[in-house]
Symmetry: C2
Subunit: 109 residues, 2 copies
Amino acid sequence: MGLVRSEIFTDQQNKISLLAKAFAHPARVAILQHIFNTDTCICGDLVDEIGLAQSTISQHLKELKTIGLIKGNIEGTSVCYCIDKEQWTEMKSIINQFLNQDITNTNCC
Amino acid sequence: MGLVRSEIFTDQQNKISLLAKAFAHPARVAILQHIFNTDTCICGDLVDEIGLAQSTISQHLKELKTIGLIKGNIEGTSVCYCIDKEQWTEMKSIINQFLNQDITNTNCC
DNA sequence: ATACTTAATCGTAATATTGCAATAAACAAA
DNA sequence: TTTGTTTATTGCAATATTACGATTAAGTAT
């Protein structure tokens, strides 16, 4: 069907999967890494840096904005994107809580 | 197009996004949590636990197996799934390296 | 052998995602 | 105003994902 049945999962499960989607595409990973790597905030050079069309990059930026991990400041004619530090930290904590589940219990294989 | 242009990204970026896909769906999050929570390995009760059809669960299990995070042991007529500890640890390290990028540099917004 | 249980696979339908060209919007510069 | 620059949006087209019923495969039990 292509339609996720979110109702049958817990809020936490839906939240984790939503956050994971942010970096479940290499372009979004690249965008986030580039924002991290440039000490000054990012503008429109993502299109040159990554080899995708401007509209495609813009769409990925929109998704990251919707999820809440980045925010954009309009600076004249260009837009400056940066990490939303609070949200990033919260995301990290949620994901880490999931990743750090105790592995020692599973002992059959 | 619906076709990810993997060639234009680094191996690391592709790897991160691939791993993230493992928990970019609430059903797979639920499956992994359930394997973690039951001290004994998982069998076919995932279908009862999560409200999805048997074939759907089986498909998600296959994806998790393909990504490498779980492995299944045939035990008579049922199958026992568990976390692949080595792979899980490696995944954690790769994801954490990405999540723990220094946030202090981004200082425009 | 037959019947039952369990999980994988196949086929199909529907929705989601990715990508790009073209256009629009918003601002800057001349 | 006109021109250029930059980003967002719209409108496709193509591929991917999700989900389920039906079937198959493999083992158990009778």
